[in-house]
Symmetry: D5
Subunit: 93 residues, 10 copies
């Protein structure tokens, strides 16, 4: 099932640079593992902002919450989830 997710990152400006780099590296690895598993099929940067629009494709709400709350950046993010249904004008493809 598809979910549209907006994530806004709010890292404290005085965060230790090494800590920051380590969190971001873990976030990248975590995200790429989910992408390779097909659970995070779309990921775009919102131009000009430290934020992204993502599409997640998971079994149900519980799996979605488990994946999102496991993000290394989760404590630093504002997240907004929108469930997506099929659109009647969408062509196959």
């Amino acid at each position: 099932m598809l979910y549209h997710v907006r994530m806004d990152v709010r890292l404290p400006v005085d965060l230790d640079p090494a800590v920051r780099a380590e969190i971001i590296a873990r976030e990248k690895a975590y995200s790429q593992k989910l992408q390779r598993e097909g659970k995070w099929p779309q990921l775009w940067r919102i131009a000009g902002e430290y934020a992204n629009f993502s599409i997640l494709d998971v079994e149900d709400h519980d799996e979605l919450h488990t994946l999102l709350s496991g993000l290394p950046l989760f404590p630093y993010m504002e997240i907004k989830v929108t469930p997506l249904a099929a659109h009647p004008s969408k062509i196959a493809g």
Copy 2:
């Protein structure tokens, strides 16, 4: 170039049903033509709302505006455009 677009449709409740059906049929044909041309690669219904999230893939801002303002439902919609950049964690695929 990719654009994230949210469209909210506000059709008047007292619109003549035949007029309404005709506009919606034209909207569907218009949307599907753009999908077949590869300019509207993603289209999802926001569950529970008369609204969609779309991804458009066009040459530039002018082509985007031309396509959106040509939508048969354009006079009845609230539209919000967000330009999308590549995300550094996105894997190829």
Copy 3:
């Protein structure tokens, strides 16, 4: 799967009383059929407002959208859907 839904009804004040009564009667029948089928397990009036909080229990986002967009009052409502996950502190029962 559980969805939290807020519905706000905006019926035009000059709607023909017979039309209004007929829509509301159909809405009630529609809602009660879904309640009997176990798909609309919770339904509360928000005190002082022509609005409700509901819990829907359906297969997926598509079924949710089909049910909500089929509501006789759908053209007159503002609807906001929130997907619900299990809470780690919830006791069985």
Copy 4:
């Protein structure tokens, strides 16, 4: 009497992990005691957010406030209460 409550938790990101774990453990015990007493009949996680929707069933506004302001996480939460009335379309059950 039923109350709909939304709770958003804002724990400081630099909170001592032991303090954090202790607060969350007390919160869980406090919540589960109220659930066993029938005063907190519904509790759902809002998918993707450190937040919940709850239904509380208490005697009156004073008991509600006493219970909510006694939550170990109360100093870290934004809370919004909505009183719930019976809905005329609700079937018995």
Copy 5:
């Protein structure tokens, strides 16, 4: 139990003056009956607006909703209810 209520009236500017006068007269009689019964102990005009702050004192959420939704102006109002608890600094009197 006490409820704080804000009511904003939105009468259509083209409403027939006789209809308007009749609704307002019925509203006044309805409100004064509840005031005499002790169920609407406070009623203030918000200076400069067609709106009021009210305190209602009723048995429970259901009675509150019944009284508010029975207001002759109910279809023309936006209403916001806030449940009031005792304040620990309030002196007797």
Copy 6:
């Protein structure tokens, strides 16, 4: 003259408990003195929130500001004032 006031308290979560207790004790004494003088005739806790709705009855805007800005919690509060006029439907009493 009557003023409707909403006060939201935002005490820092890491405030020294003794300092906090002392401020709150002074706030209570300050509030109760004004209540005894008849200048703060109504004071309610907003259920579930560290906030109150108050009615103040003072000579004029200057006295109102002097009283509010003298609150021991003033530096920690967000305050919103609304002037109240007589309502034409209010019965004597």
Copy 7:
């Protein structure tokens, strides 16, 4: 006593031009009478908007509401009142 007032005018675009002109003429006369009486000492147009910022100087909240609700444009306006106190840095003059 001084009140800061923002008034936003929302005249229907299809209002009969003669009716419109008559309302605006009455509004102007009403406003100028209050200005000559010293009750409306300041009146500015918000550049680019059909709106104004005003300072009213009246006895109390009741007189303020009587004057504002008597404005010929009152049914077409959104009004926001803010009570003004003396500022400690204001010089005499």
Copy 8:
């Protein structure tokens, strides 16, 4: 002096097409006259919306308001004005 202006057009969907075309033609002529006079040096369409960002260069607030309130579309627009000052990092050119 420079002013940043955002204009959002809200033409009624049932406006007579001939009236609509006539207003838009007058708007275009009006705008182009001001552009030729150097008073409206920048004008951009906000992609996907019936709205624009403009820069106006006029003598003072009064001239700005006269020009904007004279727009044929003024009764159908929401307008927001922001005064622009020189930026200390701007290079000559």
Copy 9:
């Protein structure tokens, strides 16, 4: 030229009292100098808030920005500027 300015002061609650007093003293002197020069003709406290409404009368946007950004409290304030035009109903005086 006249500008309407709203200033909201957000001094950190843990600011050193001597530093705080010194900033406020400088702010007062700065403001009173501008008042004596006729550049800050109106200054009101918003009742109940650490905020003011001001009218500034300066040459142009650049002078306005220079004066406002030079306020000793500028780093601690949220400021909103609105340019004021002459109102057609304003009487001379």
Copy 10:
């Protein structure tokens, strides 16, 4: 391609003055380099605020994001991007 950008700067009030001066100097150099390259053709201070409106002229969304996220003040800014299309009433020039 043209982008409208609003940037609001939120520097911590307790930032070390030397660090602050160094960041601002780098920001200025960075901005002026882009201005000289023709990629940042317009830059205005929003009067009274530590904020600017800018027009950027770059190849695509990716270049835009690279330039903006490289700003020395980027970690301290809230940024909002709006893509600009040609306006049908714009005259050549």
